[in-house]
């Protein structure tokens, strides 16, 4: 295993410390239990947005803490959901009296740990709501699964709900908007290579030199189908098709598009994918009105990409465009 780390057990703590040292103007880091909070939290009268999940998806979630996005992030061990303690202490540290919204990626572990945290906080009189993100169209028969996974859509939910909260919206309102984003975003991903969880020390799966995995999540787990490597344009079509269809996007509609790298993909390749995505959407008469191309929700050093589309309307676009200032996402300020 080749990684720029010290001790396997210290990886998440040290990376979180590094984030805090690099952005003291934006975030404050707490280690026991581990959470990243807005430097100026609690913001009185503002709904507090808290997310979290396993580590290894950086910049998600710690990189999205700051003005106009999250109030706190709770990084679990690598690919392991955080424990309730983290959310409980984070919520106590950042809530501003207007309630807390948990943004939870739909994984059994995340759901249960956030649920426990919510129960504990409610018992202490802090109002907590939860919004699930479950945007991965690679999970087809959600009846026969733990439901769709939460993947790239999370970035959209955090940005847009974050803007609403920053603007002073009520808990009801922020929850409504977060749900609307969650319902209107879909994603699908693929991998050229696997990745290595530090504590395990070897790749989660092995792929032949001419193989790829289609329909992966973000935990280095094998995808739904393994197939022979294809040109980027074909791969793009394989990812974009199910996303467009599942959203039921029609000609004349507008989307915000994200071409996301899994952590080890050169930016050059992501732009090659974006090029084809733009062509596919253009052919269907769908307009990309905003976009992100880069590493936004990753799987350690995995090579591969995911495509996310959010059906956009005036309200969501206005909130998307609102200023944001976090370690990983910044505009308008």
């Amino acid at each position: 295993m080749k990684k720029l780390i010290n001790r396997v057990e210290a990886v998440v703590d040290e990376a979180t410390e590094g984030l805090g040292l690099a952005h003291p103007d934006l975030v404050r880091v707490h280690l026991e239990p581990r959470y990243v909070a807005r430097a100026d939290a609690p913001v009185q009268g503002k709904v507090a947005l808290i997310s979290g999940g396993g580590s290894g998806h950086e910049p998600l979630h710690g990189g999205y803490v700051g003005r106009g996005m999250l109030d706190a992030a709770c990084p679990g061990e690598v690919f392991t959901s955080p424990v309730p303690d983290q959310m409980v202490e984070a919520a106590k540290a950042v809530h501003g009296g207007a309630g807390v919204l948990f943004i939870v990626k739909n994984y059994t572990g995340d759901v249960m740990n956030f649920e426990l945290a919510a129960e504990l906080l409610q018992a202490e009189g802090i109002e907590v709501r939860s919004v699930l993100v479950a945007d991965d169209v690679a999970v087809e028969d959600s009846l026969y699964t733990a439901g769709r996974r939460g993947v790239g859509g999370t970035v959209f939910v955090e940005k847009i709900a974050g803007a609403a909260a920053e603007a002073g919206a009520s808990l009801d309102e922020v929850e409504r908007i977060a749900r609307r984003v969650s319902e209107n975003v879909r994603s699908m991903g693929m991998a050229l290579t696997s990745c290595t969880v530090p504590a395990k020390g070897s790749p989660t799966f092995e792929l032949g030199e001419d193989e790829m995995e289609i329909g992966i999540g973000i935990h280095g787990e094998p995808g739904r189908e393994r197939m022979k490597l294809r040109p980027a344009d074909e791969i793009t079509a394989m990812l974009a098709g199910p996303v467009i269809d599942d959203l039921g996007l029609q000609a004349g509609e507008q989307v915000i598009a994200m071409v996301n790298g899994m952590g080890g993909t050169p930016l050059m390749e992501l732009y090659i994918v974006y090029r084809q995505l733009a062509q596919i959407l253009k052919q269907r008469g769908i307009a990309i009105v905003r976009n992100l191309v880069g590493n936004y929700i990753t799987s350690l050093e995995m090579q591969g990409c995911s495509i996310s589309l959010l059906r956009a309307d005036d309200e969501l676009l206005r909130l998307w465009d609102a200023p944001v200032h976090t370690p990983a996402l910044r505009w308008g300020v």
Partner: protein, 222 residues
């Protein structure tokens, strides 16, 4: 039976509960890489690491002399909830919490108490995880184990024998997860591709029952 049965006659006191917890932690530590490798095949390669981290934390926090069975079980529950994360943290945490509640204030547990305790643990996991038998989870090991335990006691077996049967049933239940397609947890995302692999949580659950069989009734299980 025989010697083991006699020792078991003493009843399950805090010492035995402590031995059970220690043995469970030890078995998980020994099988850590195997559990993680199983999770790599159909999950995210962390089950062994997760559970081991939690049980080691539990050992550190175990209350000392004078703690009741419930105190010990509750300490484990808290450590697992605080340290494991993932799916197995809340699931095993809830299991131990319910077991603690079932143990109540008793200093010594009778065989039927032990059965009730495992039944409560199973119910807790089912409530939290909303999975049924056949979904390729730890339930597939635990549910038959609890049934075997109750059935054996019901037909008059002593605790050692009953727990040994429960451990066997858990192991067989785990074996039966191999051909299943997962419909709960992370492995469910693999659909058909989850077939042919043992569910990691079912193995850790079988290890828990093995630990119970080796400790709760006294000496080594037969």
């Amino acid at each position: 039976m025989g010697g083991a049965g006699e020792v078991a006659g003493r009843g399950v006191d805090a010492g035995r509960v402590r031995a059970f917890i220690r043995r469970f932690a030890q078995l998980v530590a020994e099988h850590k890489d195997e559990l993680t490798a199983l999770d790599a095949a159909i999950g995210d390669a962390d089950h062994g690491t997760n559970l081991d981290r939690g049980l080691q934390a539990a050992l550190e926090r175990l209350p000392g002399e004078g703690a009741s069975p419930a105190d010990l079980l509750k300490a484990v529950a808290m450590a697992l909830i605080a340290k494991v994360g993932g799916a197995s943290g809340p699931l095993y945490g809830t299991a131990f919490l319910r077991a603690a509640t079932a143990a109540g204030g008793k200093a010594v547990l009778e065989p039927t108490d032990v059965a009730a305790l495992f039944r409560a643990a199973l119910a807790g996991i089912q409530e939290r995880g909303k999975a049924a038998v056949g979904e390729k989870t730890m339930i597939d090991a635990l549910a038959p184990a609890v049934e075997a335990l109750e059935a054996a006691l019901g037909r008059g077996a002593d605790l050692a024998e009953a727990l040994a049967e429960a451990a066997r049933a858990a192991r067989e239940g785990s074996d039966r997860t191999i051909p299943l397609v997962a419909t709960k947890g992370r492995a469910s995302y693999l659909g058909e591709r989850s077939r042919g692999h043992r569910d990691p949580g079912s193995l850790s659950a079988a290890l828990m029952m093995q630990a119970a069989a080796e400790t709760l009734a006294g000496g080594k299980a037969p």
